[in-house]
Subunit: 337 residues, 2 copies
DNA sequence: CTGAAAGCGCTAACAG
DNA sequence: CTGTTAGCGCTTTCAG
């Protein structure tokens, strides 16, 4: 069976395609009666509009893109739910693109967006993404774009972030209050702004408590889990950390693995805090003290901003910035209360 | 700056749009020299083809849809990675649709696919999906469709599943070997075929060991976590289970929560097995014995099948069935070895 | 209130 | 090897 088109409806009803089109979009120029006839036949023949024809003509696709490094991560999964909740509401489609932390892939994806495939973009950049000479700044000028969580600070565009500096400061202070003196910060990236913000908060807290910042204080980990495990175990053996802050979810579980391998007791030998939205955090052994990010709300806020821009082109999207607070959830991997 | 089109390239090079189009698609009818000139100018002007124009004309979009209940679930997240890995390889785009276990939403999404928006569909149905009078059978005739994990058995279409019956049989036997005599199976759905397969395996194992199947043996849980927790705690108090099999990831953590609330010791008072791909399973307290599904491979297999059908229309897609084995990973939430 | 006509950007015969 | 022509299905002036 061929696909039903507007023209078939027009022929059957002895009307023009223009009239059908208008009737289907509920235009006020069309009489109630005609609308009813059109809608009835459309339903009967199971008419489904061709989105490509419509997009081509209207130069808008009712589709937004979400570009993230990884989907197997509680933060991003929850953020997607937040985004979806508002997209569904507005009748928009959501295209999800995974960069797997590859800058190359990210670039290729962004380039594709110049085609007009999507009406707007929500993005959380890769750990490799540098500001320089990147299509991002360009793209942000061409179509509505909102950064969430992992922003590119050098690019002028809307941003939804959490209070990374403060969160790291508080996490560090919490460890210090619990008696830690040799704290390590596990960082996932050297260029990522949120990594740097977290490192800043960490350093500020150390300074505020007259604790030294050494070469071992900040430990840079890669995206490769095997390499990370290696680095981690080596570091744990060389430097006798009594506290560790894992700045990503994957790093948090990596710490548990390393401690298990080295028979280090948490929190006896070493206290641990993870930036994580793991729903199982409270059931871990020991339960994990976390910096919990408002993932769903961040996704929702980012999408909301984007749709405001999509609705009214005069909305100053690029000036929008929102910081949504995270919270420190104290559990048994740390000693302070 | 306006978007660069094929016509602009044509004018600049004094060629026809047809020639440009063919040159860009590397047609053999075009001379090497012309191709070079076209490619050079395209690169210079940063030409990006309009996918909607192309899709409209070719009636294919180089896009596939993935329809799943939920993304914040290790199984589906990993499956997406598997799907993505082959889609990226083939240069296809992946649209992800979340049903949130709602049959209504699923129907609306599937209907949209009749528009030709996507070239093929990979789907794992909702817990509410019933076979009857559903758009699925219809859709499977119109465009290539592959079920993965949660199949609709009544619909003739390709399927990638895991060995649910056997997995449940083995899980149950494992509990019995560990001394359990009053085992409960936590089911997420009454109609879902994989739930029924798992229940079958469970019952077979009970029968094989001369254990009775009672009204309390199979416990049906809803999608609402609060209601589920309620049901679970009530059941745990009324019936003195000594073993529990959670057939979904969410149910597995719900069990930990309920046991904590009721101060039930795992595995002392009650042994637990979860169907789950949680990466944190080994770090839980106690570490969780799991039936681990080959999520990534299932996604990959489903996508591979789909692309074979997309490549050659003579490929008998609907006859394809693959069962990829899961594995029982024994940890400390159960006693047998 | 309805219709005629033009065209979004690209591709696929078919000629030459 | 290159060009002409037509049209995918829909929306949008502009006329009537």
């Amino acid at each position: 069976m061929e696909n039903v088109t507007i023209r078939m409806l027009a022929e059957r009803l002895q009307l023009s395609t223009a009239t059908i089109s208008k009737a289907l979009s509920n235009s006020h120029e069309i009489s109630e009666e005609t609308k009813q006839r059109v809608l009835a036949l459309a339903a009967e023949l199971n008419y489904v509009p061709n989105p490509y024809a419509s997009s081509l003509r209207k130069k808008s696709s009712h589709t937004i893109a979400v570009v993230i490094p990884e989907v197997a991560d509680s933060f991003f999964a929850e953020a997607i739910n937040g985004i979806e909740s508002v997209a569904q509401d507005k009748g928009y489609h959501v295209l999800i693109y995974l960069t797997h932390e590859s800058f190359m892939k990210e670039q290729a994806i962004l380039k594709d967006f110049q085609s007009g495939r999507v009406d707007g973009v929500l993005i959380s950049v890769t750990t490799e993404t540098t500001a320089a000479a990147h299509g991002l700044a360009q793209l942000a000028k061409e179509i509505p774009l909102v950064f969430f969580d992992r922003v590119c600070e050098e690019v002028t565009a809307a941003r939804i972030t959490t209070d990374d500096t403060i969160a790291a400061y508080n996490a560090t202070s919490h460890l210090i209050a619990g008696g830690c003196r040799h704290i390590g910060l596990l960082s996932a990236s050297r260029q990522l702004s949120i990594s740097n913000r977290r490192a800043e908060g960490f350093q500020q807290a150390l300074a505020a408590h007259q604790l030294p910042l050494t070469a071992a204080s900040v430990l840079h980990c890669s995206n490769d889990p095997v390499a990370t495990q290696q680095v981690l175990q080596t570091a744990l053996q060389q430097h006798h950390y009594d506290g560790l802050i894992a700045t990503t979810e994957k790093l948090a579980t990596a710490v548990y693995q390393a401690c298990e391998a080295l028979s280090l007791n948490i929190p006896g030998d070493i206290q641990v805090i993870g930036f994580s939205n793991l729903s199982t955090a409270r059931f871990l052994h020991p339960s994990l003290t976390t910096v919990s990010q408002p993932a769903f709300d961040m996704g929702k806020a980012a999408a909301t901003l984007l749709f405001r821009a999509l609705k009214s082109s005069s909305f100053p999207l690029n000036e929008q910035q929102q910081v949504i607070p995270s919270s420190l959830i104290v559990r048994n991997s740390t000693k302070a209360h």
